[in-house]
């Protein structure tokens, strides 16, 4: 017997994004989707690459960065898509913003386990795409998304108080982030690795980043993510780097 959630999935269209798609056989697609309620799922879209006369078969709509309504069935590893509708226009991510979109998707594919629900993160992801498309500061959007993602998958990073003592982080002071234990007050000799209290408080509060602070924040979140990403490099990060080399 189908479980209740299976039944619900079959009957109701779910808010989703496609994180990644790949061709399957001649005419179909396998989608890696992110659903508000059901988290990451693998879904087979049968015939989505077929062209019926004048009528799109799904492939055009089942694209990354486009809010979708989807319903699917099945209990195996790969579900079968039943219905799809666009839930709005695709986030317009021209040029390098597209690489940012790939980066968000790659993080989700690498860090979310299939089937784990992350409703808050879904809303945050949708908001990040909208913010990128609206031309908001890229570094700010990416850093806050990374911190939010870490928190949602259970690796919350406390950036507004010292580990151990629990003393609040104060502006004008400097801190060091230790991978195992967390924040501690910087001592002499920590110079190069020290993080300003203002930056940490700004990150904790979701405030905009600017100038050199953005650079420091990037190095910090990179360190925070590293243990969960493993040794395989992020390909979208690589693409950024290669593009930068072109425009030097």
């Amino acid at each position: 017997m189908a479980s209740r959630s299976d039944q619900a999935a079959r009957d109701h269209l779910q808010r989703c994004f496609v994180l990644h798609r790949r061709n399957f056989s001649n005419t179909s697609l396998i989608l890696d989707i992110f659903s508000a309620i059901h988290g990451r799922q693998a879904v087979l879209a049968k015939g989505a690459r077929q062209h019926r006369r004048g009528r799109p078969a799904g492939g055009e709509i089942l694209q990354p960065f486009r809010p979708l309504w989807l319903s699917w069935s099945g209990r195996g590893e790969v579900k079968t898509l039943i219905r799809y509708e666009a839930a709005g226009p695709a986030a317009e991510l021209p040029g390098k913003l597209l690489y940012c979109g790939f980066y968000l998707n790659e993080l989700l594919v690498r860090l979310l386990r299939r089937g784990d629900a992350h409703e808050n993160l879904f809303a945050f992801y949708a908001a990040a795409l909208t913010a990128l498309a609206a031309g908001e500061d890229v570094e700010t959007v990416l850093r806050h998304f990374e911190l939010r993602l870490l928190r949602e998958i259970g690796y919350a990073v406390e950036l507004d108080r010292e580990a151990g003592s629990g003393r609040p982080v104060a502006p004008g002071r400097y801190y060091v982030y230790e991978q195992e234990s967390g924040l501690r007050a910087a001592g002499t000799g920590d110079g190069r690795y020290a993080l300003a209290g203002e930056l940490l408080l700004g990150l904790a509060a979701g405030e905009p980043l600017s100038g050199p602070a953005a650079k420091t924040a990037k190095l910090l979140t990179r360190r925070l993510l590293a243990p969960y990403l493993g040794t395989r490099p992020l390909q979208s990060r690589e693409l950024f780097r290669q593009h930068r080399n072109l425009s030097l």
């Binding site: 994180l19 990644h20 790949r22 056989s25 001649n26 005419t27 004048g54 009528r55 799109p56 055009e60 709509i61 694209q63 990354p64 960065f65 486009r66 666009a86 226009p89 695709a90 991510l93 021209p94 040029g95 390098k96 597209l98 690489y99 979109g101 790939f102 980066y103 998707n105 790659e106 594919v109 992020l234 390909q235 979208s236 690589e238 693409l239 290669q242 593009h243 072109l246 425009s247």
Partner: protein, 201 residues
Amino acid sequence: MPEPSLLNQLVDALRCLPGVGPKSAQRMAFHLLEQDREGGRHLASVLEAAMERIRRCKRCRTLSEQELCGLCAKPNRDDSLLCVIEHPSEIVAIEQATDFRGRYFVLGGRLSPLDGIGPEALGLDLLETQLQERKIEELILAISPTVEGSATSHFIAAMAARYQVRTTRIAHGVPLGGELEYVDGGTLAHAFAGRQGVEQS
């Protein structure tokens, strides 16, 4: 485990063809074995030779038995136009459907970080060398308008800008003979943005 029978191995091997599932693979295997051994032997030898001898053209990366493919070897093409496409089959389509007489460059796919497909996999280093060394006046991007295709176009356009090569892309829009009511909103938006004057005389 014992080795699968030769018949099963053949059926399995045939399944590497696109669109061939277990049923049709079995049908093909029985057809060749029961009704067309000669055809089967011929297929095997041509397949073997093709896999051995067909490689990528060193200039445009299309499939070719020679170092330089037929098109690249032709002297009477316009060297100042370079059209970037995804797959070799599109050369045939463009040659038949348009009056384009420039040169081609075949990517063999699109940038897709989540599939691990980066610039090298598409031969973009070779394209860069050509942008640098050949007198190209217009680089035409004929790449699918998917997100991966757009990222690819953006990357190549940035590369061309570095060598001051003008870049254009083919228009995306409503398919000829298509009905507007079935056209997806994104396509419609593209088509709208790329609207053209109508002959009024």
